[in-house]
Symmetry: C2
Subunit: 139 residues, 2 copies
DNA sequence: GCAATCCTGTTGGCATACAAACGAAAAGGT
DNA sequence: ACCTTTTCGTTTGTATGCCAACAGGATTGC
């Protein structure tokens, strides 16, 4: 008497994560079309922490070296950040917000918070808190 | 007396989702190096539902037309799926598992379930169930 | 002081993802 | 029958996201 194993895709964490992420990205793109989620994360961390080396910036935004480079390049092209060599360490590239980048983040920060709220909207306040706690533990 | 608004990146759902997804993908790649998560999802749905049109396959795996095409192309190149024209509807391309694809999914299905379990490992059984329920409601 | 190691940024390659635009085929309405 | 609308698959373009390999600079061990 053995139960035949079934693989229900809809019940797998990975699939659920992907679907929820898709919904979140849709909400984000509608609300903040100027930049992407990862670009916004970079603006947020530069705003909170000040200028950082490119690799350090990658660490605080959870992107590896190759990824953060692409993001920084595109933000530079848009004039939202700028890079300068670090005199202390000639390997390092310091990334900082431009006036335009500072202004954009200031103007869109509240929208950013609203996007998170909207993503969690189907849940009650208690459920939202629980979800965030559980997700944080899976990090 | 107004509270200055802060944007704590680490507390935003989108950022948490991205980090948890990163951890999940790492676990998956180690356990099943032959295919990616999305490719595995395609194999799972073809295994569960039988041959499907390419677009239909995209819907049951949550991928848009452009994405599912790339995934099917790569799986075809690996000999895990094959496509054939649908005589009923000349626009349609029927995608089905090859013997090799069927065998691979059968051999890796349990591992797939173990990957989900490993991803959720930091949580208790009750917390795991709760998380899945909450995520499903955000779909 | 110097060799082994580590860190930083860059590049190339592969694999999602989605938008937009397109042609061909099917379905529906009148 | 005919026209409009959908659906299906394709292609192009942009943006993550990771790995692996690399070069040059900084650090550490000895």
């Amino acid at each position: 008497m053995e139960t035949p194993l079934k693989y229900a895709l809809e019940d797998q964490v990975g699939f659920l994560l992907r679907r929820v992420t898709q919904r979140h990205l849709t909400i984000f793109n509608e609300a903040i079309p100027e930049v992407t989620t990862t670009q916004f994360a970079v603006l947020a961390q530069l705003s909170a922490l000040g200028p950082l080396s490119q690799n350090h910036l990658g660490r605080v935004t959870a992107m590896d070296g190759a990824t953060i480079k692409g993001v920084v390049d595109r933000l530079t092209r848009q004039g939202l950040v700028e890079t300068s060599p670090d005199p202390e360490d000639r390997r390092r590239l310091t990334v900082s917000l431009t006036a335009e980048g500072t202004a954009l983040f200031a103007a869109r920060m509240e929208t950013g918070l609203a996007i998170s709220a909207r993503t969690l909207d189907p849940l009650t306040a208690a459920e939202q808190a629980q979800l965030l706690t559980l997700l944080a533990r899976l990090t």
